[in-house]
Amino acid sequence: MSEHIVPVRIYLTIFLVLLVGTGLTVLAAFIDFDKYGFPSQFNTIVALTIAVAKATFVVLYFMHVRYSPRLVWLIVAAALFWMAIMFSLTFSDYFTRNWLSVGY
């Protein structure tokens, strides 16, 4: 039994953090950040930042990755890396189509 057992206190803390994160993301969604001089799409940036933070907490603590062997870390990182490739290659197509006026 060398398995790491995460104490209840940590589970409870993460649970509360996730609930607070949900509340924050809903509140932030009603604020028009453009009005206060933030760059455009700032609402989306806030929403995604909170979502990424919440997901990180779930992965690290609920899914025990923080206490897992390096190989699990590697697999998680590989997933994110390939996802980044998929997104960046697709965006490099879709978001550059109107750079040249060759017409489609």
């Binding site: 996730l18 993301t25 009603f30 979502a51 779930v58 603590y61 699990v72 996802m83 998929m86 997104f87």
Partner: protein
Amino acid sequence: MEQQREAGTLGMWVFLVTEIMFFGGMFLAYTVYRSLFPAAFSSASNHLDITLGTVNTAVLIFSSFTMAMAVYNTQIGKPRAQIICLVLTLLLGLTFLGIKGVEYYDKYEDRLIPGSLIPSRPFGPEVQQEGQPFDAHKLHLLPGATVRHVEMFYWIYFAMTGMHAVHMIIGAGLLLVLIYLSLKGRFDPEYHSPVEVVGLYWHFVDIIWIFLFPLLYLLGRHLAHGG
């Protein structure tokens, strides 16, 4: 035993990677179409029920917590608490699906199921011909939004939440099996890989929702607010 347990967990993670890529494709489609039709996506998003969406997010997070507690109680060898936690997780999962069903019915009522799949409640142009253009959908279209592009949002909405719901249903089935096996006393601190692996799956489904919720429900709220 230690090595076997690690191998099982690792295998689950490899499976979850394929799941990440699977949902990733849908998130990609979402991003491309949202950037093409921002106004329509905001209008359509504002029609979703933010209260039910928020409650559902909390319900799912709670279920993730009870799932983590189920794994914990198995690890420390408390079968009673473990079974209670598993049953709670299952009930919360079913609550989530129930609320999702209410939301889907609401969309049906407002004729927002895309592609004229429902003959008596068509989406789009058919409704316009009756002389009450967009009111039939109860959409408050923002400038630049069209019903056709709202339909695009709802295709993506139903594809993503539908696929997520399918995963929830599979998860509920897995929980039933776990509860059955737990009642037969099959898990102890030495052997409990199934509980742990289903836990990983359940948390993964929770993470998908953590991203779906802001991306589908919250993107246009600040535009409708006060406007």
